[in-house]
């Protein structure tokens, strides 16, 4: 009913190939964008910004980066956390060495460092595949975290070995550090996330995206039709690591404010990988759904007992929370092994033909 496509005629090829051939999709996206850009900033409390909105966006972006590599190009990676770390440390070094630099520019530039590192660790992908490649990226994970600990130049020889985000401003408005208002931090994150999401949607629909998909589906066949596998795989590593690096910079600069090396350790990689898998590999939307489920939902669940006035221990809530979220993950994966994005796709298809299924 709501999703009726009757009457939406396409008279040109261009219209048929548009980003949203169904009008309702475009409207829905418009509503979400208005929510994100206008309604949330006007209504959200500081807690909502810091505990839900900013982390969900940051993790969505990290998962988006991983999805380019794993979901679109089919190269399994377990080094996401470390690549996020490269972005964060690069950004930290840039703003401390060049304090005049615009922090948003620094965040966007920091991705190039992780892209470089990503390509370096992506080279083995030319020879090895699947689980073996996962082990090679795991090496990146261990090596880089070790490097963050041992190379004291990276954290400016701080006694604590942690990096602290300085207060940085653009035209007198603080955008990072403790002086920054949550809403400003949110807008920075939202701006970067929106920008990179648009880039990714277009990339994955274009020539490069099709090359990646061909590589993922069968690399020998792809090679036979003339795709340069080296180029395809290494661009996937570069672009994926770029996005992941930017997400890492945002993770520290717009959200946490301080980080020690071990926050970039393997649990972070797994968390991002789980978001990508539960959201749906090979989809853009899935990253947002997955991040909302894995990052956002536990926070909301934590608030529920207090909201209903149920007197229950905080530690007990945490235990229940882990059980509920774990249960939901299992449930969603049984209902739809291809992730939440696929679930939405099915619902949408059903809605389009409703109430007359063929």
């Amino acid at each position: 009913m709501l999703y009726r496509t009757v009457g939406q005629f396409k008279t040109t090829y261009e219209a048929d190939q548009a980003l949203f051939p169904v009008r309702q999709d475009a409207v829905l996206l418009g509503i979400i964008l208005v929510l994100a850009w206008v309604i949330f900033p006007l209504t959200a409390s500081e807690f909502t910004f810091q505990a839900i909105l900013i982390p969900v966006l940051v993790f969505s972006l990290a998962s988006l980066g991983l999805n380019i590599l794993t979901g679109y190009a089919g190269q399994l990676s377990l080094g996401t956390g470390a690549f996020m770390g490269v972005g964060a440390y690069a950004c930290y070094k840039m703003v401390t060495l060049m304090p005049w630099m615009n922090p948003v520019v620094a965040i966007l530039l920091s991705g190039f460092f992780s892209a470089g590192v990503g390509v370096l660790f992506g080279i083995p992908s030319l020879r090895i595949k699947g689980f073996y490649l996962a082990i090679a990226t795991l090496a990146a994970q261990f090596f880089l975290v070790w490097l963050f600990e041992k190379w004291s130049w990276l954290y400016n020889y701080n006694a604590s070995g942690a990096i602290q985000v300085p207060n940085l401003d653009i035209f007198g408005v603080y955008v990072t550090g403790p002086q920054a208002a949550s809403v400003t931090e949110y807008y920075v994150v939202l701006f970067v996330v929106t920008l990179l999401t648009m880039l990714c949607i277009n990339l994955t629909r274009g020539n490069l995206g099709r090359t990646w998909k061909a590589t993922r589906d069968m690399d020998i066949a792809a090679e036979l039709i003339g795709i340069n596998l080296m180029r395809s795989k290494l661009t996937a590593f570069a672009i994926s690591s770029y996005i992941v690096g930017v997400a890492g910079a945002l993770y520290v600069f717009s959200w946490k404010g301080a980080a020690e090396p071990n926050v970039f350790d393997i649990p972070l990689s797994f968390q991002v990988l789980f978001i990508a898998i539960i959201g749906g590999l090979g989809s853009i939307l899935g990253n947002y759904l997955g991040a909302a489920l894995i990052v956002g939902l536990p926070v909301v669940l934590n608030l529920l007992p207090a909201a209903f006035g149920i007197p229950i221990d905080s530690a007990m809530v945490e235990h229940l929370n882990i059980m509920i979220v774990g249960g939901l993950i299992v449930f969603f994966l049984i209902v739809e092994p291809h992730g939440l994005a696929q679930l939405w796709r099915l619902i949408r298809e059903k809605l389009i033909i409703w109430p007359f299924p063929y």
């Binding site: 604590s160 070995g161 207060n167 403790p178 946490k256 071990n262 926050v263 229950i312 530690a315 945490e318």
Partner: protein
């Protein structure tokens, strides 16, 4: 069934307190960790903290006639949850207790903007001692640099350190690296050789490589800055490699009874510096027994309550309560706010008389804070494991703060500069 009644009682009590809480209370949240990899050490500390506040609420109806709500927010020692909890509690909180060096580092700059005092007793960033720079942060009664100094003092009492080797076994983490600047400075002054041996977070339970290195080094002493599973790992490994336990010392967080009980008699001689000590005969313990334990309001048990960590949690709450009381007296109101509590915490004067008035005899050394000195540098005792429990083996050791005061000032200034613009306490004209 027994559990069910317990829960039901707890639910009713919590319901009643929640109901009355609406009326009037001071909200002093605690970012607790009763879950996750460090839960074993967290639970006794949290129980001690909670029980002391419950005792005050039950016995005196709170402090100055107002009840204290020491609600816990579970972090599981994770820095991400720490941010969540801090943001969740900060609107009504008069204090924040971050409970991990990682969370402290994250919350420290924010509290300076949000104007909420951080109470981080015995942990966190050592330069927080400089109260003019860190006007909202308190690590009473002693910081890590004090601990390092006292340990070296104690070792010097056993004979000159000139030409000796001290292996510094530490967690490779901001927490473990904290004392290195002071230890290096002392190494230069006293002529001993410092050999830092880091233990990665992933190797905490398997330290065979580190202990092989220690065997090869043959150090005269091993000083440990460990936490969580690392302590038990190191102690069992030391027993296995037959390292003489009397030459093995740890910071206060490495003196958990449960870690030593694993090795029992073999751990005899292991030492840990501490600014708290369990005294089962102290009047406060009797009060907790009547007002908390007998009423079934505790989550603790007798064995845990006789341990070092439970009593440390208790002391931490006592320091907080004392800060609240001082602030209430100064401002003449029971309902103090965050900035008034800040004044209270920097004007604590825990004299021997006050300590015994509070019924904490022998559980904490006397100390005094000021606007320039947010640590108090109480000093501490060297505790030794006698095979069953920890006993005091030294008189009160006091840190020689003058020896590293310039280091405190330097690091505090560095921090303020890196976090510019940083609000300092300009009014404070006391020097320590």
């Amino acid at each position: 069934m027994k559990h069910f009644t317990k829960w039901a009682v707890a639910a009713v009590v919590a319901g009643v307190t929640a109901g009355s809480a609406m009326a009037q209370e001071l909200y002093a949240p605690n970012l607790a960790y009763r879950t996750g990899p460090f839960a074993a050490t967290g639970i006794p500390l949290m129980n001690g903290q909670a029980d002391y506040l419950t005792m005050l609420n039950e016995r005196d109806g709170g402090i100055g006639g107002i009840r204290i709500n020491g609600e816990e927010c579970e972090t599981g020692y994770s820095t991400e949850k720490g941010v969540e909890c801090y943001e969740k509690t900060k609107s009504k909180a008069i204090v924040t207790q971050p409970w991990s060096t990682g969370i402290t580092l994250q919350v420290l700059p924010k509290t300076n903007v949000d104007e909420i005092p951080i109470l981080a007793p015995g942990y966190g960033f050592s330069p927080m001692a400089d109260g003019t720079t860190f006007q909202w942060a308190f690590n009473t009664p002693s910081g890590y640099w004090d601990a390092a100094d006292m340990i070296v003092q104690y070792l010097e009492g056993q004979g000159s350190l000139d030409g000796k080797t001290i292996a510094f076994l530490h967690l490779d983490h901001p927490y473990g690296k904290e004392p290195i600047p002071v230890l290096e400075k002392l190494a230069g002054e006293k002529g001993f050789e410092l050999e830092p041996i880091p233990v990665g977070l992933k190797e905490m339970q398997n330290q065979s490589a580190q202990w092989l290195q220690i065997r090869r080094l043959r150090p005269d002493y091993v000083v440990m800055w460990g936490w969580g599973a690392m302590n038990a790992g190191a102690i069992t490994e030391a027993v296995k490699t037959k390292f003489p336990m009397e030459n093995f010392l740890g910071v206060w967080w490495a003196g958990h009874d449960a870690d030593l009980k694993i090795v029992g008699e073999d751990g005899k001689g292991y030492k840990s510096i501490s600014w708290s000590f369990p005294n089962p005969d102290a009047p406060v313990m009797a009060d907790i027994q009547t007002h908390v334990v007998d009423k079934g309001l505790t989550k603790s048990n007798a064995e845990e309550m006789s341990g070092v960590f439970y009593s440390r949690g208790l002391i931490i709450s006592a320091i907080l309560a004392e800060g609240i009381r001082v602030a209430q007296e100064e401002y003449g109101t029971a309902e103090i706010d965050a900035s008034q509590l800040r004044w209270g915490l920097e004007n604590i004067n825990m004299t021997e008389e006050r300590i015994s008035e509070l019924g904490l005899d022998g559980m904490v050394p006397p100390f005094q804070t000021s606007c320039a000195n947010h640590t108090g540098h109480s000093g501490g005792w060297m505790l030794e494991w006698d095979g069953e429990k920890f006993v005091k083996v030294s008189d009160l050791l006091t840190p020689n703060v003058a020896g590293y005061q310039d280091l405190i000032d330097e690091k505090a200034a560095e921090y303020a500069e890196a976090n510019a613009p940083w609000a300092m306490n300009e009014e404070c004209n006391v020097t320590n």
